[in-house]
């Protein structure tokens, strides 16, 4: 066993660090550190900077414009981005659709769509979940009926993250209503300006607009927009759900949250002493530090397995479950650390008011509430445990 990084990996880390020091805009880093949502323009700006450096598509092979990095390189990149408070890139085009196209798309689809993801012309969003279906994807109801060279789509999708910024959507639709649940599903792409597609905002628990509903009413989409075979969409859906995603454990987020929290608890005072000197608070902080330190290694161990075996095993679901638990515990602790000061509703009024709220911590309660989602979406932690019990434990 050897936990050190190779000289090449260390050199890579130095390169990443230097890049971030030079290229990451300070206003974007600050906004990200403060836990506030980024504007679309900020996301686009960072996307373009990464693309210019060729470091945007970290999971794609080089031939398609990806980095071709090893899992360890991706881990290093993720860790350095977290340390520098760099925002994450959007996963819909880069981490989800891109790999699907590379594996299942036609040459024409790859040639047309992959470059548009990289250069930012396409902002993709996702049409997976449906109202009333939740984690039970196989029960989806949105129908696509063949009519000449088109599919005519009717139905409703929900939880479409940042759909308000997107111009295109990939969705799972039912193309054979008579097939058994998992069969009869296809994976299709649509322009959002297609007549009959309408997007409506969903307001989330903490007040923010992050997700949307998408309504399809006789929306016509060319059959050529289907990825993979008709009625074989389930294969793609499973691929997406279990596909190796960079940092499924969210270690980068957690490192950043932990460092913010340490700074806060050294700075703020309670009962005549620094917060970090309160034994009960320090105990909470130390316990989460330990859990996070363990998660870093667990993550590396699984990355290392994935590198050896080409694919991560089912146990990578553990990373998702435990990773979200740790992130949520950190959010909880930040909220606790602020005490009553976490209570004000985040608003543009308050943001400008440094006298009132520590700008580094302005959105902590909102982030806590918003991040309750991470154990629900992408296959809830309960679904992950069901899968782990079967595949990993043989129960």
């Amino acid at each position: 066993m050897d936990l050190s990084f190779s000289p090449e990996e260390e050199a890579f880390r130095a390169e990443v660090r230097q890049f971030l020091a030079e290229e990451l805009p300070e206003d974007i880093a600050r906004r990200n550190r403060e836990g506030r949502e980024l504007e679309k323009a900020d996301m686009d700006r960072w996307h373009a900077i990464l693309n210019a450096r060729g470091w945007l598509a970290v999971t794609w092979p080089e031939e398609y414009g990806g980095t071709g990095w090893t899992p360890v390189q991706r881990h290093i990149f993720e860790e350095e981005c977290a340390r520098a408070s760099a925002p994450r890139t959007l996963s819909f085009g880069l981490a989800m659709l891109g790999p699907v196209l590379i594996k299942f798309g036609t040459e024409a689809q790859k040639a047309e769509l992959l470059p548009r993801i990289l250069d930012g012309r396409d902002w993709w969003c996702q049409g997976y979940s449906e109202p009333g279906a939740g984690s039970d994807l196989a029960g989806l109801k949105t129908r696509a009926e063949r009519d000449g060279d088109d599919y005519v789509i009717n139905g409703q999708k929900t939880w479409t993250t940042l759909g308000q910024h997107a111009n295109r959507i990939f969705c799972l639709v039912r193309t054979d209503p008579d097939a058994k649940k998992q069969a009869g599903i296809s994976f299709v792409l649509a322009d959002l300006d297609t007549p009959g597609i309408e997007m409506r905002p969903i307001r989330l628990i903490e007040g923010g607009h992050e997700v949307n509903e998408v309504f399809f009413t006789d929306a016509r989409v060319p059959v050529a927009n289907r990825v993979g075979e008709e009625n074989q969409g389930w294969t793609i859906a499973k691929y997406l759900l279990t596909h190796e995603r960079t940092n499924i454990a969210g270690v980068g987020f957690s490192i950043q949250a932990f460092e913010n929290l340490c700074a806060l608890s050294r700075k703020s005072r309670r009962n005549g002493r620094r917060m970090i000197d309160d034994p009960l608070f320090a105990a909470r902080l130390a316990r989460i530090e330990i859990d996070l330190e363990a998660m870093k290694i667990t993550n590396l161990r699984m990355l290392s397995d994935a590198t050896k075996n080409g694919q991560p095993g089912p146990e990578s679901s553990m990373l998702k479950v435990k990773g979200t638990v740790i992130r949520q515990a950190l959010n909880d602790l930040s909220r606790r650390a602020l005490g009553p000061a976490a209570a004000p509703f985040p608003s543009e009024d308050l943001e400008g008011n440094a006298a009132l709220v520590d700008p580094d911590q302005a959105a902590n309660a909102a982030r806590y509430f918003n991040n309750r989602k991470i154990s629900i979406y992408g296959g809830s932690n309960e679904i992950q445990k069901n899968i782990l019990a079967k595949t990993m434990l043989g129960l």
Partner: protein, 357 residues
């Protein structure tokens, strides 16, 4: 030994519940709770008319209640309806003024709204660390310091401020607009303000007020515990309904054993938290009042977190939306913990009592 409400209290609860059900449905609540002045002045007046403020004070001071179970009854109902009216600030002020000769009628009638300003950025919970100072100025006093997250101050006609004169903590009154004030809404509804006192003229209400303030804060904590119990009951019912109705993989999600067990654990903890709130209500006139209140507030803090997190998790995406009432219950339940001492702060009081025994 009797765990049933008396007839009087049952009648109070029934009429309050009915009033809130009729006039304060969740849509109305969300409309007023998240926009200035962060409550509904009309409903406030009606609530006062209903007598809920009188229920918080004993007869000899013009009320018709004032026992622990009266406060329990009122706040349990407010919690169930997620009502953001500033009844807690009124309770705090009324109980603090019990140590004075002050005429409580303007407060009890709801015509004059008060807030109690205690916490500071570096002393959110603990009186010992309070830094706001009071200084004599001619016949009167001036106050200097910063008070943070003063609940209900955004709508208060007057504010009672806790300030330090040497070693002694005193209670001083200022007009609501006497100091620089930043008002804001709260993430769980309702409003508060930060006060920036800078030689602000004030009237002394009570010198050596520490005992009175501690007692008032304990009444406020009891109220928060009762509010939490009411809100947890509502959140639980909503969740169980959902679990019975919502199907996934062809079955009601309530039929999944892992969720069943977690629901049972949650319900058990709610009953435990209710028990300690009842006990605290029964001990409000006893010498170990503070210890019982801290025990209850600690368990409430632990339990509200469990209920908020588990109810959102088990209901899934829908409970993440503004549209669905469970999300607002989850927020209120979470934020109750950081009012008047969080779970850890109260645990430390219980620890200190054990260590001293």
């Amino acid at each position: 030994m009797d765990f049933e409400k008396t007839d009087d209290r049952r009648m109070l609860a029934d009429s309050l519940d009915r009033f809130l059900a009729d006039t304060y449905p969740i849509e109305h609540r969300n409309r007023v709770a998240y926009a200035a002045p962060f409550h509904d002045p009309e409903r406030w007046a009606e609530l006062a008319e209903l007598g809920i403020l009188h229920a918080l004070v004993p007869e000899e001071r013009g009320g018709f209640g004032g026992a622990g179970f009266d406060v329990f009854t009122v706040f349990e109902s407010l919690g169930r309806a997620l009502c953001p009216e500033p009844v807690l600030p009124a309770l705090l002020v009324l109980r603090a003024l019990m140590a004075t000769e002050a005429d409580l009628e303007p407060i009890l009638s709801g015509t004059r709204r008060y807030a109690l300003a205690v916490g500071e950025p570096d002393a959110p919970y603990d009186l010992d660390a309070i830094e706001t100072t009071a200084a004599r100025s001619g016949a009167g006093w001036t106050l200097t310091g910063r008070k943070s997250v003063v609940y209900g101050a955004q709508t208060a006609d007057a504010i009672l401020v806790v300030a330090r004169d040497g070693d002694a903590l005193g209670l001083y009154e200022i007009e609501g607009d006497a100091a620089e004030r930043i008002d804001y809404g709260l993430i769980d509804g309702g409003g508060a303000s930060d006060l920036f006192l800078d030689a602000t003229p004030a009237d002394l209400v009570l010198a050596d007020a520490e005992a009175a303030i501690r007692e008032a804060l304990d009444w406020g904590r009891l109220a928060l515990c009762a509010e939490a119990v009411g809100a947890m009951d509502a959140a639980r019912d909503m969740m169980l309904d959902y679990m019975r109705q919502r199907t996934q993989f062809g079955r009601p999600i309530g039929s999944f054993q892992a969720l069943q067990h977690r629901a049972v654990e949650m319900v058990t903890e709610i009953e435990q938290a209710r028990s300690l709130t009842i006990l605290a209500a029964a001990r409000m006139d006893d010498p170990d009042r503070a210890r019982h209140v801290s025990m209850a507030k600690n368990l409430i803090g632990r339990t509200t977190q469990l209920v908020a997190e588990e109810s959102v998790q088990m209901q899934g995406g829908i409970a993440m939306t503004w549209e669905y009432p469970a999300s607002h219950y989850a927020k209120r339940l979470t934020m109750i913990d950081t009012q008047l001492g969080d779970a850890d702060w109260h645990l430390e009081q219980v620890m200190a009592a054990l260590q001293a025994a």
